[in-house]
Amino acid sequence: MTLLPEAEAPIDPPPQPRRGGTARTSGGGIGLGRYILIRALLIVPTVFILVSLVFFLMRVVGDPISASVGDRLTAAQLAERLAAAGYDRPIIVQYVEYLGQIATGDFGRTLSDNRLISEVLLTYGGATLELVFYALIVAFVIGIPLGMLAAYYKDRTPDALLRIFAILSYATPVFFAGLLLKLTFSVWLGWFPLGGRASTRVQIALGRLDDPTGIYIIDAIRSGNSVIIGDVLLHAIMPSLALGLLTAGVFLRLVRTNVIQTLSNDYVDAARSRGVSEFRLVRYHAYKPALIPIVTVIGLQIALLLGGAVLTESTFEWRGLGFQLAQYLGARDFVAVQGIVALLAVIVAVTNFIVDVIAALIDPRVRY
């Protein structure tokens, strides 16, 4: 269970019709430049649709004023406050106004704690980045060797066990993994802190640095204090593990299938001899995984990790964008939710774009 769908389809990530789909409908054999242009232009409607969707959905849910003072004001007082905030205007008017603001780069201020959205994004983006980075390391270290192992032992017991491990990493909700980790390592063994990014004192010390980056490990190393570095690392272990394992399952599968693929190329011939259409065979060749560099895979995983990060951050009180998103959602602060979702959408859309372009560069057939 994660907030972004990418994280939820480790078994069979759907094909990417924005390659096969839109590009195909626009006719065969387009140039690379045109492909990139079309692909880049597609980012705009994608983000636009998302932002609009969030705008309308959040307004259906409720408003921050009723959420906070709905049990202490008379109906008239409440209406007065809603009017003062402009929520009583037709939703379409508010929508147009919001689009106007966004167009000028003004994301507004959060309603529940009166902060600039841009400042929120900057402050907490670093934390999310840091967590995603750690998780990627965990995923690489665990996922890639195990995936190769599984491929090597294809259809034998180690393979089965590793595949079950991969399924388990998908079947375990992050919050349950978090509960188990906390129970074992924080409460019983007392090895790691329950949550947060650093101890109070360390957090203060880091805040006192000149120009803190907000990425704690960098700040900690800059401080050069071993206690600070240790504390920051200690806090990162459980969240990185939780999110990393989730991703490691996906990596394991990717590596396994990739390796098996290259190991069994004669399978394709067997398929042909059984009468499989040329069309399909070409498609297979077009998507030949051996051609896809590991960079592309990482790119796809960024979106997945961002999605997983949202719940992981909430579970471990890791104050990044995902944690804030959950908090603002609870306060029905739609401006803040819109801002954060828009940023996440842009990151995912741009990442997908880059991945597609790289894939197209490597294999021209992708953009037929």
Partner: protein
């Protein structure tokens, strides 16, 4: 005294190992050790989030808790008392029925050295009213007509309604923190960074570091010259937690010295067993109650079989069947205690009006009494009840609390409860639209005066909108509001509670206890856990 004693003991060994690895990895050397991390003073942990440091932009517990430490008030409650006295003022009184004149102390300054004069006071209140921020406290100043700075130390508040006895209390409420007109902006909310930068604090503490909802660092304010005296501890740090469990573990392990608001019932019960911490209990201002909608409750005014007498009997029978003690112990582990009247215990004028009227007369339930009440009114049993609560607004324990009431009512054989829960967004709208015959609500006071538990609920212009209206009660409420004699006013407050208790517009159930958990070397928590419901860090000391 330094942090090392309290520093995460269990982590030290692991820390050193991890650090060595990290140091080796990055190949850097530097000031190793914990000197750089030393932190004097006391660390307070809390889960109450802050909406705004600017008093004009907040109307919630978390923000007010911070503002209380760093902004001065004209009137404030001394330690241990719910009743207010002049804080940075010399006096405050009605000079004419509609004019409340406050005289400030001479030579007051903010922490930044700016003079604190009547002009700042006028600026403060005008600003709250003119900004009328949707999340702000402007509705508390409904009775304020205008503010006039007569001279540097004299302010005259002109009120719309005469002799408002709650006005002193309002000056101590979330609408009352005095701000520096040279730092705060007159036409918009001021950013926390600008407030901290401008050092625009006049309370017991100043803020030196502010990261919203993460960490706030307080230093004692030498310029504070008010009712509460200087802070006992020079520096205090507040750490914000999102989860109660994290706060619980932090106080248990000494990462924070004080945990205040909120710990889950489970955590409090567990901490009571722990010799490493002290649990302090004080009164709390938060109450929980059930509202009866007089139109739609069984036999209500707009039901098919409308009958005021039967409706009253149903309400009274419910009051007789409910077992508050069981809920207080089973669900809340004593973090909420039974409440037998409308004004919670600890406030001037509080009674236990319902105790004698319903149940076994001592607070416990009595099904026979309830049966008799219903029989006498000719109500056929079982009575079908639609009971509503919100699972998300008053904490997760609401589920357990209302499951308990439902089962108590069902087990009596007198009622058939249909228990429903609805998320707050829908709930807060639907309850106004008469959708719920019986429903859960809670209240936290704006100020520590009994009036704040009566006027908003039972006057003709109440916020409940449950169609309860009683001219006698309304008259009493208006009378106490302007009664200057304290004894006479207390009597009126008690009369109001007795009157409403016999009619049961709402059914008071529980009162939150003010629970603070501290390390064994911290004292002073009991001094500030009082019915002012303001937890002041300045009272805390480390032995």
């Amino acid at each position: 005294m330094t942090h090392s004693s309290a520093f995460r003991r269990r982590s030290l060994a692991t820390l050193a190992g991890a650090a060595t690895v990290a140091m080796a990895l990055v190949g850097c050397t530097g000031p190793s050790g914990e000197d750089e991390l030393s932190l004097d003073g006391i660390i307070v942990g809390t889960t109450d989030p802050v909406t705004s440091l600017d008093p004009a932009g907040s109307y919630d517990n978390g923000s007010f808790a911070v503002q209380n430490q760093v902004f001065p008030f004209l009137f404030n409650s001394p330690y241990g008392s719910p009743d207010v006295e002049p804080d940075i003022a010399v006096s405050g009184e009605f000079t004419t029925p509609t004019e409340f004149t406050v005289v400030l102390k001479e030579g007051l300054t903010f922490a930044n050295g700016n003079e604190l004069t009547s002009s700042d006071v006028k600026f403060t209140f005008d600003r709250v009213v003119s900004l009328a921020d949707p999340s702000g406290p402007s509705s508390l100043l409904g009775n304020l007509d205008s503010v006039e700075a007569v001279d540097d130390t004299t302010v005259v508040f002109t009120l719309k309604a005469a002799n408002d006895q709650t006005f002193e209390q309002i000056l101590s409420s979330p609408a009352g923190p005095i701000v520096d007109e040279e730092v705060f902006s007159a036409d918009s909310l001021t950013d926390p960074a600008d407030i901290v930068e401008g050092n625009a604090f006049g309370g017991q503490y100043t803020i030196t570091d502010y990261t919203q909802n993460e960490i706030i660092q307080y230093e004692a304010n030498p310029n504070y010259d008010g009712l509460l005296g200087a802070a006992k501890t020079e520096s205090v740090t507040t750490q914000y937690f999102a989860e109660e469990t994290a706060l619980k573990l932090a106080v248990q392990e000494g990462d924070v010295d004080v945990a205040f608001r909120s710990l889950s019932p489970t955590d409090v019960a567990d901490l009571r067993e722990d010799d490493g911490v002290k649990v302090w209990d004080g009164p709390g201002g938060e109450i929980r109650y059930i509202v009866f909608n007089f139109n739609t409750q069984p036999y209500g005014a707009e039901t098919a079989e409308a009958d005021p007498a039967k409706a009253l009997a149903v309400r009274q029978a419910i009051a007789s069947v409910i077992d508050r003690e069981e809920v207080s112990e089973q669900v809340y582990n004593g973090t909420y205690v039974p409440l037998y009247s409308y004004v919670p215990e600890g406030l001037t004028g509080a009674t236990e009006s319902l105790k004698g009227l319903y149940g076994d007369g001592e607070g416990g339930p009595d099904v026979d009494a309830a049966t008799a009440l219903l029989e006498e009114a000719g109500v056929t049993t079982p009575v079908a009840l639609n009971l509503q609560y919100s699972p998300d607004h008053y904490g997760a324990s609401s589920d357990d609390e209302y499951a308990a009431y439902a089962s108590q009512l069902n087990d009596s054989g007198l009622f058939e409860v249909n228990l429903e829960s609805t998320l707050w967004d829908v709930y807060s709208a639907e309850r106004r639209e008469d959708a719920y015959p019986l429903y859960q609500l809670g209240w936290f006071p704006d100020y520590s005066d009994a009036d704040n538990y009566l006027t908003p609920f039972f006057s003709d212009a109440n916020f409940l909108g449950n169609h309860y209206q009683d001219s006698a009660v309304n008259t009493l409420i208006q009378e106490q509001l302007v009664e200057a004699d304290i004894a006479a006013r207390t009597q009126l407050l008690e009369d109001i509670q007795d009157a409403v208790a016999s009619q049961l517009s709402t059914l008071p159930l529980l009162q939150g206890a003010g629970v603070a958990v501290t390390g064994t070397d911290i004292s002073g928590a009991d001094d500030t856990l009082d019915a002012s419901f303001k937890f002041r860090y300045a009272a805390l000391t480390r032995d």
